[in-house]
Point group: C2
Chain length 128, copies 2
């Protein structure tokens, strides 16, 4: 049984689909995709990552990385040095997630103009 686009669509119709929605929400949160996409170019240490993502708080980076690690998207490696060094790297699955994120990002980037125009038109009609 192959899992193609059409078969998923059928599932979406018939089922509760709550599981997919749940995971979609996770991926769609504020920082998951930015972090994963940033890690795509190579492993980074905590504060390197913090600087690279630019805007993320230390707290949220920690949380996001924890969740990603739990989900098997990133691998956490502690080097027992002084001071301690912790490296984060994408797993194979994490890398495929990053690909998905980039595709989504590309789609957004490609449609930004159209969306903005549409919003302007819509808002203009509301303001009448």
């Amino acid at each position: 049984m192959d899992m193609t686009v059409s078969s998923l669509a059928a599932t979406d119709r018939g089922h509760k689909c709550g599981v997919l929605a749940e995971h979609l929400a996770r991926i769609g949160d504020r920082w998951t995709l930015p972090v994963v996409v940033t890690l795509r170019e190579g492993p980074l240490r905590f504060n390197q990552l913090r600087r690279a993502v630019a805007g993320i708080s230390q707290q949220m980076l920690t949380r996001t990385l924890r969740t990603l690690e739990r989900d098997g998207m990133v691998a956490r490696t502690v080097h027992p040095t002084v001071p301690p060094q912790v490296e984060y790297a994408l797993t194979v699955m994490g890398n495929s997630l990053a690909d998905q994120g980039l595709q989504l990002g590309n789609w957004i980037h490609a449609n930004l103009q159209a969306i903005d125009r549409s919003r302007t038109v819509f808002d203009a009609r509301e303001t009448d």
Copy 2:
């Protein structure tokens, strides 16, 4: 200048990338993708859509559809009958968004097992 995956990655590194994050958050919210994917198979009326999505409240369906309409993803057509009928259909751009959603859905579906396993292992280590 072509907008490929690599060029976007570069943008992500250098820029604030706040705009992309903003739109990602929108797409990644609880109902946008489910609604768009459901509409992919054809136009639906409000309550048909409500039943098809299964789990969405009337309020959230209204909000989601409004936003999607504002962003130019769905077209809203009012038939002046009694009782009133309102039909929602995907625009071309909305249809391409649905494709993105399906790809993401397929990715999730393909990796569900692995994610669950990873979580189990992770949680077991924490409980030690």
